[in-house]
Symmetry: C2
Subunit: 693 residues, 2 copies
């Protein structure tokens, strides 16, 4: 319990985990965002603190040592849990990929399960509809195990293969064309050494260094580890003074990490990894020619600890960083395995790696304390990393593999953004460019070759599906493009994978809101204004909703609907991003007319409609040709840094050169955010080309 920040006389149990501030129910419901959230307008992490303490622990006290089996049918996995443990606990114990956006608080409803047999006890929840209850759906985090049970993850929640952008021939060719010279961190140097004699009796190590010198390496700044020294004598004599030395080049020095007998060519491979909060992408790359041999992707296992970075940090504070680290490593190592099998290569060939991720993701992956990222003044522990050995962080590739971590300038602008800039090249060009990564944080960058400013808008995960009843990422079954008949209000949509829909992704939501606005289904304030007799109108609990697809048109056999809350969440997200644009421009006394290019990246589908994004006020109303959607730029930048030392140096320079503006206590941002909470904006003059009925 704590005192409301606006009404000090009121005790409340609603607290923001990020800001450690309390707010009463009235304030939470207040439409004036300045009051609503003094600290960060669209901060997504307000939640009810049931215990009056800091974190919520859903585990009941140990009353009964009795243990039960929980079987996950589809995954064929089992957990043994004590009586009273939740099904979410069981899923985590069994390492079953069950998402839990709110990290077990019982407010998001993503951790749905179907109980097939056995006895469970569920708390009452508004998150399941009657149809779901009939089918024995439960919310895993709100349901305790009371006997041996068998459950399954419902079809519509099961993880599907992510679409991997950017590995078509064309994209690969583009990526390869960006790398002029391949300069790995770790290289394997084959050497044919002169055997020693009484006249040439230098030490084995000096002989090795002489060989390296002759091969063009500067050994004056080269070091060598104890293990290599200990075994050097045998190694060098094993194959008649033919050896291969693995040398890693660091900031100013280099190190011989391994020497093996023989000097036949080693086909060295690399991996580029984009560690997203939600999904992870791995490219397996031939270090000889830059070819992408395999690309795999999957959902970050940390999703079991919540959708956003704040929940992940909370989870790390509660359960230990190691747990979160193990979760993301298990995802990454699984994807590496897939890539290895698909390309039919040996794990030990992979001796170079680059990891690109936001600041929280890199902290958790490396096991670095993340707690101060979510506490004012929001300090990351490390923003620029030395080159690390794979074995030191648990990557299952060659243990000596060199790992470069993309540096990031701030707690909420990380290596993934630096990686994106590297790919877009805006830091090398004259043109004033606006870069937007639309994900949970909504990072934006404004600048050109002379200067770079950056900020994070805390936009929330709405465009990635978070906080939207049927929202999802651009996976199979996601509606990614939609238009409405202006008369019948019937939709026409395109679904990823050309299957029956099971949800709607970011580009689909933009289309939908824009069309609803244009057809008059919603008003500029986001409220639904539809005839209650219309077949697509639904009164869902307290609020109105539009039915996108009827149950029989879907793969989940339920109506896919779009509620006023969904719309409100999207308005808040787009408002935060748009406010960010304006404040960043104001900082340098510029306006949209001076922006020569707008680059958009993020997990949209391939059909992001710029016009419609402008219509809803997400993007500024400027010349359409200035916009460019560039897909997953984080993995593209990681690929570049993997192959080129020049790009690795450039990444560090980008990170160092970025000026970070903190919006969390910026009054101007608050004002602009409020103004942007309309469709497209309270000030229509900012959107001259947008015409609404």
């Amino acid at each position: 319990m704590g005192k409301c920040i606006n009404h000090p006389d009121r005790e409340t149990n609603y607290m923001c985990m990020k800001h450690n501030k309390y707010m009463c129910e009235e304030c939470l419901k207040c439409p004036d965002p300045k009051i609503h959230c003094k600290f960060r307008p669209s901060c997504p992490v307000w939640f009810m603190d049931k215990k009056g303490g800091k974190d919520i622990d859903n585990k009941p006290a140990k009353q009964d040592k009795k243990k039960f089996n929980v079987i996950f049918q589809t995954e064929n996995k089992k957990a043994v849990v004590e009586k009273g443990a939740t099904l979410l606990d069981a899923a985590r114990a069994a390492d079953v990929p069950l998402n839990a956006s709110c990290n077990g608080k019982g407010v998001c409803g993503t951790c749905k399960l179907v109980v097939l047999s056995g006895k469970t006890k569920s708390k009452p929840t508004p998150l399941l509809n009657d149809k779901e209850k009939e089918k024995n759906y439960v919310i895993a985090c709100q349901t305790t195990v009371e006997s041996d049970v068998t459950v399954k993850i419902p079809e519509e929640v099961q993880e599907k293969k992510l679409q991997i952008a950017g590995v078509g021939k064309k994209v690969t060719a583009k990526l390869k064309s960006l790398v002029k010279e391949i300069t790995p961190m770790l290289i394997n140097i084959p050497l044919k050494l002169e055997p020693p004699s009484l006249e040439d009796s230098i030490s084995d190590l000096d002989r090795l260094n002489r060989g390296l010198d002759k091969s063009g390496r500067d050994t004056s700044r080269m070091s060598i580890g104890m293990k290599v020294m200990r075994e050097l004598a045998g190694t060098m004599r094993n194959d008649n003074w033919n050896v291969t030395a693995s040398v890693v080049k660091k900031k100013c020095s280099s190190e011989v990490l391994k020497v093996i007998p023989g000097n036949s060519k080693i086909n060295s491979l690399g991996i580029a990894i984009d560690v997203g909060t939600t999904s992870i992408v791995v490219y397996l790359v031939d270090m000889e020619n830059g070819n992408i041999l395999a690309a795999t992707s999957g959902h970050n296992r940390q999703a079991a600890c919540g959708d956003d970075v704040i929940n992940r940090i909370v989870c790390a504070e509660k359960d230990g960083i190691k747990k979160l680290s193990a979760m993301v490593l298990s995802t990454i190592n699984g994807l590496i395995n897939e890539a290895i099998h698909s390309a039919k290569v040996n794990r030990n060939q992979i001796d170079n790696a680059v990891i690109s991720g936001n600041t929280t993701m890199t902290h958790l992956l490396l096991g670095i304390e993340p707690r101060n990222i979510r506490r004012e003044p929001y300090i990351p522990s490390v923003s620029a990393f030395p080159i690390i050995k794979a074995e030191d962080i648990g990557l299952k590739i060659n243990p000596i593999s060199a790992v470069f971590i993309m540096p990031g300038p701030a707690s909420y602008v990380g290596g993934d953004i630096v990686s994106g800039l590297l790919y877009t090249g805006l830091h090398r060009e004259e043109a004033l460019t606006l870069f937007i990564d639309i994900g949970t944080n909504g990072e934006i960058v404004l600048g050109n070759k002379d200067w770079l400013m950056t900020a994070s808008c805390s936009a929330g995960p709405a465009f990635e599906g978070g906080g939207v009843r049927w929202g999802m990422r651009a996976e199979e079954g996601a509606i990614e493009k939609i238009s409405l008949d202006s008369k019948t209000f019937d939709p026409l949509f395109a679904v990823v994978g050309d299957v029956l829909p099971r949800g709607i992704c970011g580009s689909g939501m933009i289309d939908l809101i824009s069309e609803m606005l244009q057809t008059g289904i919603i008003q500029p304030n986001g409220k639904i204004n539809m005839d209650s007799s219309h077949p697509r109108y639904l009164h869902n609990g307290d609020e109105k909703a539009y039915i996108i697809a009827f149950a029989n048109e879907t793969s989940v056999e339920q109506d896919i609907i779009f509620t006023e809350t969904d719309i409100d969440n999207i308005i808040r997200s787009k408002g935060a991003i748009f406010a960010g644009f304006i404040v960043l421009l104001n900082q340098v006394e510029m306006d949209f007319s001076m922006v020569e290019r707008v680059i958009i990246t993020g997990g949209f589908g391939q059909y992001l409609n710029i016009d419609k994004a402008i219509t809803i006020g997400l993007l500024p109303d400027i010349e359409r040709s200035k916009f460019k959607y560039m897909g997953n730029s984080s993995i593209a930048g990681a690929y570049m840094a993997l192959l080129s030392e020049e790009y690795r140096i450039e990444a560090t320079q980008i990170s160092n050169n970025m000026t970070y503006i903190d919006f969390s206590s910026n009054n101007e941002f608050m004002d602009e955010f409020t103004s942007a909470l309309f469709l497209p904006h309270t000030n229509m003059e900012v959107f001259p080309s947008v015409k609404i009925k």
Copy 2:
């Protein structure tokens, strides 16, 4: 079995472990050294290869699993061994410091024990006299355990505290005066950092680096390990942004090894270690002011595996490097413990260390493969080392302590010689200097600030007591100074520690031979020429001997004698060294008259008599004022390198600048060696001032 190098028709089982060559018994006994040892005149490692293979294994085959207790009374230690194990095996298992010069071959007689109770079985040996046999003396390596037994190490063999040269006030002052500025490898930097704010939100690591920059450190080339990064956030906030960073400076970069909360002053300590084949010396040094807080010394536990480096390598090949490494580490760590207790300091304060030792010693200590040191063309595995962490090599000091290993140019000229040069400073001066370290190898250096030549004479350990019946190091009970009455032949001697004698050390031997020569007791060929009725004359087995001290004048209650074999061994040692001088001078077309200074180091007592050393032909017959005895220069150089980066760089330069001349296949050296096998020399013109009766 192998063929004799001189008589290919003869099979023999005498083999030199160093050269892998065989020689028949006739050749071994032949007085002509050119035939005697074609490969290295005074090579000490010819031995009988009983199994016809390479190494001798004294352990009998396991016939009986019965186990017995062997109790070492004085040390209060116990070993449990199988029936048939030798007492030497038991001593090694119990970690009892029993020397075994020949590494268990049964030829040296150093591993004497007294059996107090129980049943043992000994092979016949000529190495014990009747008195010893009466007292139940046995040779441990030739005696197997047949029941529970209790033994003790006889008084005369027990290790005594070594004299430590160089820690008197005067010597300390001299050492301190050599160090102008103290520049440790690892320093602890106390920092008072600014707490972060929204306006100053750089990462914890960047904040640390900024603090280090402000304190005058260059952080552009600084790296940091995973463990430090992982804990950084907590560490920095633990004491209100006051921290202390431990930074090690390497060749071209530096690394933050540890960060701890708080910024109160740390009193940093260092250790300098001289790792000799026989004895080890440790200085504990205050890194603030260079004061020597404690000096300890002891016998290298590896002595259980033989006296010389060759036997140590053989032992490492048989039993594993780890065993030899553990032996020397146990000695060093024991001496460190003594020093810590004596100075009443904390082990973790010791965060800088320098190790100086010959090439074999450093290889074995660090666990680096040494086998090629003893095989033509005699290649060390590593001659220049990176800075190592204490925990990586098992030194029981602060685990992150920086350890500098003195580099050495060749297999038989190591870091101890480089350390010695550093101390003498001959590489900084105009004067042409001859530097001699008289130990097992007899390393010599000739040169000045412009050039340095070096060689190893394989002189053998005679001057350190090896191969001499009553020879010993300059420890308590050693006769270190002696003169003979020219009429009665009665001796007048000085004993280390002013106690009854129990042996004779190097300086004593030089005195004795010189006196015996001057009084006519021996002829220039080293043969005893004494009236057989003289009370000090003894016919010992096949050979003649002079009685230095009668049993009742000694602490061991036995006659201390000096045999023709002893004299022969010393002649061979001094001959090898003198031949080395000449060959090295010839290489640069110089002679003794051009030598401006002769520096002698090694384990002599404090009474090395230069005149007498010239009389026996060990030192050249030049102006006496040119000679200087400098004691243990290896530990002195280690002290200097511990305190000063300049000296560490200088040591590496010395090692790199030394030109190594290999004598093992040098015909000129063979000839000179033969000529030097007389007292003082076959060519008396070389010793004009020496007059012999």
